[in-house]
């Protein structure tokens, strides 16, 4: 059997599932709430069968995309630094989406890896935008590389890529906030 390429068809849906389901070759958070569309399920199942993708359950299923199953192996814990405010807001946002921060990070990483390494999509623009977002290239050099001359095009491309614009350090921003106060009250 050809191993799955990332399409998982999973989940009983009648009941609300709030646990994380782990499979030997992939991990998916299941947060099923609503009734699925039966046509979509049938189509997803047929597609999965046709392309030899991994089908875990075919009776009343949802379609999820996930990391390539043949590459996903044992789970590792990683540690990284994140500023407290962003962490707090991320937790709140994840809770609003009824999911975990863990699942959000994994999903974002999947999107990132697929954007950069995908076979169908071209990664050049994304790489340039990512470098800009990380502060590795300047605005001017990015505009030249992408051959765009409008700030709005850049803004839309960054939005489309799901990347934040480069940001100033918090201290810099706070200094500016204080400065505005002094100037307008002078």
């Amino acid at each position: 059997m050809t191993m799955a390429t990332g399409l998982f068809v999973i989940a009983p849906v009648e009941r609300r599932c709030r646990r994380q389901v782990r499979y030997p070759n992939g991990v998916i958070d299941m947060r099923v709430r609503a009734q699925p569309n039966e046509n979509a399920i049938r189509e997803a199942t047929l597609t999965a069968e046709r392309t030899h993708e991994l089908v875990l359950h075919t009776n009343m299923c949802y379609k999820y995309s996930s990391w390539n199953s043949h590459k996903a192996g044992p789970m590792s814990n990683i540690t990284f630094a994140i500023d407290d405010d962003l962490l707090r807001k991320s937790k709140v946002a994840a809770a609003q989406m009824d999911t975990s921060l863990n699942a959000i990070v994994r999903t974002l990483l999947v999107g990132f890896v697929e954007s950069v390494g995908g076979k169908v999509q071209q990664p050049e623009n994304y790489r340039k935008l990512l470098d800009f977002s990380l502060g590795k290239v300047t605005y001017r050099s990015l505009m030249k590389d992408l051959n765009i001359d409008s700030d709005e095009s850049l803004f839309l491309m960054m939005c489309g890529a799901g990347l934040p614009m480069p940001r100033l350090a918090e201290e810099e921003t706070q200094q500016m906030v204080d400065l505005i106060g002094k100037v307008i009250s002078a």
Binding site: Q121, D145, L146, N147, C159, A161, I184
Partner: protein, 186 residues
């Protein structure tokens, strides 16, 4: 009575675009100081129709926002789409700053300007700042408005802009920029 004059100078289209996507152009008036726009920013908005250009131009006209005329801006307006000069935006800003400096001397009373840029433009800016001109970011500006209780959250405004931008973004991010076949779609 205030002894000094303070202006909020919008040197390019970046902050206007962000606030337009957030549908909060009105915030430009929030500090209670005169808002002025460098003419090249207006040229950028009129050169190519964009999802926000009409809204911004209507705001500028509707609020009698003063436009600072510069030599290069006049040239750009006259030549329209045929106008192509490197770093025209920065040259226009420099021109406007010299003009501001001269005007301050003529008036003989303290005059200050807050130069509003998007964060990614600040580090790469290459022009001479007179002593009475201060660079601020759109985020710092919004944070000040938050401090003044004019808005509830600066982050909400920025998030609203990104959210609206995403709705339009696929158009830009999925296609190579005009005139640069080497850059592949994302």
């Amino acid at each position: 009575m205030r002894e000094s004059v303070c202006e909020l100078v919008v040197p390019d289209a970046g902050p206007l675009i962000t606030l337009a996507y957030a549908d909060r152009l009105d915030l430009l008036l929030g500090l209670g100081v005169e808002v002025v726009v460098v003419d090249m920013a207006k040229v950028e908005l009129t050169r190519h129709p964009t999802p926000t250009s009409e809204k911004i131009l209507a705001f500028l006209a509707g609020n009698n926002v003063r436009v600072i005329e510069t030599e290069i801006g006049k040239e750009a307006m006259t030549q329209g789409s045929a106008f192509k000069k490197r770093h025209a935006g920065e040259r226009a800003i420099q021109d406007a700053l010299f003009e501001f400096s001269d005007e301050s001397e003529r008036q003989g009373k303290p005059r200050y300007a807050l130069l509003l840029f998007e964060e990614h433009k600040i580090s790469g800016a290459s022009f001479v700042l007179p002593d009475n001109v201060y660079v601020i970011s759109t985020m710092a500006f919004l944070r000040k408005l938050e401090e003044m209780c004019i808005i509830e959250s600066a982050m909400d405004v920025r998030d609203a802009a990104v959210k609206a931008g995403r709705e339009f973004s696929q158009l830009d991010v999925s296609h190579p920029p005009r005139g640069n076949p080497a850059t592949k779609p994302l």
